[in-house]
Amino acid sequence: MKPALKKLCQELGCPDLINSLKQELPRYIRANQLIIKPEKLKKVLEKKGWTLKKIAWNDYGFKVVKAPCKLGNTLEHAMGMYYVQNASSMIPPQVLNPLPGERVLDLCASPGSKTTQISMLMKNKGVVVANDYLPKKIVSLLRNVQKCRATNVIGNLSRGEKTSFIEEFDKVLVDAPCTGLGAVHKDPKILKTWSPSSIKKLCAKQKKLVEAGFKALKKGGVMVYSTCTLSVEENEGIVNHLIKLGAKVESIKIKGLKTRPGIIRNYNPQVKKTVRVYPMDNQSEAFFIARIKK
């Protein structure tokens, strides 16, 4: 194991975390309430040989205990009735809590798991500006938005850090590009590319992205910063940067979800209110989530 990785695991108080990251995780789907009620979806799929178990911390996610086919190869999927999405990836939109009628910015949106969830939570009312920086990313975003029958999303092509929105949004999600340790169970190569220098590079970008996101947020608005990685610099470090810009960190409590507090290091102690989600705690991907108030 890379020494830096070993050191990180020690700092996090979980020497065995890397092994947990490598372990296979259950698959999850999210019922698309724009089209179907979760209980109805469960019935429809279970008639076809699936076994689904509701996840503890929201009303629309299911663990796939058994499926007779690839999760994306069904008629119901083509009809947009569900979206294949890891249970942890459902948390940031939940924490953001977008309401019907609000204006929401999703700064790093593609392929749109969270965008379509946000649109669902808003019942297609209000506006979601879903941004990403490459045309092909906008194409995959559109594909999912269209499949989910989301009608309140505008796909915007721009480098997040170059956007110039000023206090226009009630809610902002920055689901940042990161070193992705949470995805090691799908792609073990991530462990090889993970390094202090890759962290440094991404941190510089993450800082610029949250600055733009925070600027776009109305006073009194809520921003969620999330990553699917574990490095403290990419997580609490970025939140600490936001605190210096005037952000307040709010506590996150989700019934049924086991979380661990943020790592303080030499940062502002508010970062302790951020949460870390570890695979061995909830059988779901590693994630980091911070709820910020302006």
């Binding site: 089209i35 179907i36 429809v44 007779p68 086919c69 690839k70 190869n73 069904t74 008629l75 119901e76 083509a78 009809m79 947009g80 009735m81 204006r103 297609n124 009312k125 209000g126 506006v127 979601v128 500006v129 045309p135 906008i138 194409v139 975003l141 559109l142 594909r143 938005v145 269209q146 499949k147 029958r149 989301a150 009608t151 309140n152 999303v153 505008i154 796909g155 915007n156 092509l157 721009s158 110039s164 929105f165």
Partner: protein
Amino acid sequence: MKFEYMNTNEVKKINDFLEQRFGTRLEQYYYLKQRDRIWVFSGEHEKLEKLRPGFTGFRLGIIDKRRSFKPSQESSTLIKARKNVLEVSEKEARNWLAGKDLKKQGVDGWFLLRTKTGFFGVGKRVQGFFRNIVPKRSRVIGFF
């Protein structure tokens, strides 16, 4: 890629088609066009000058070369049709989404296609035959 709000006349034309064919109007949306594509947007009236939009809402369909409106496959869920809905078997639905034509006798014209569970597409019947119009990129291969 220029997106523009459509004028009332253009929107009326589409809604007249929806009403005549499916017995319903979709008037709760903003309508935008971008080349031949028609988008519906359920949000607020957005000033697009400040954005670099790649899409604006949901793709309702296109205006084809003969200047008539052709609904997208996914629009079948949005249009709350009161008539001209055709229910087919799941096997037929899978075949359609995989890119195959659909044979079903009946009168000609546009139909929303559904199974007993939900809507999956839109097709135009000509002499008992729906020629497949599912775009290649959205076809599903390896269906269960």
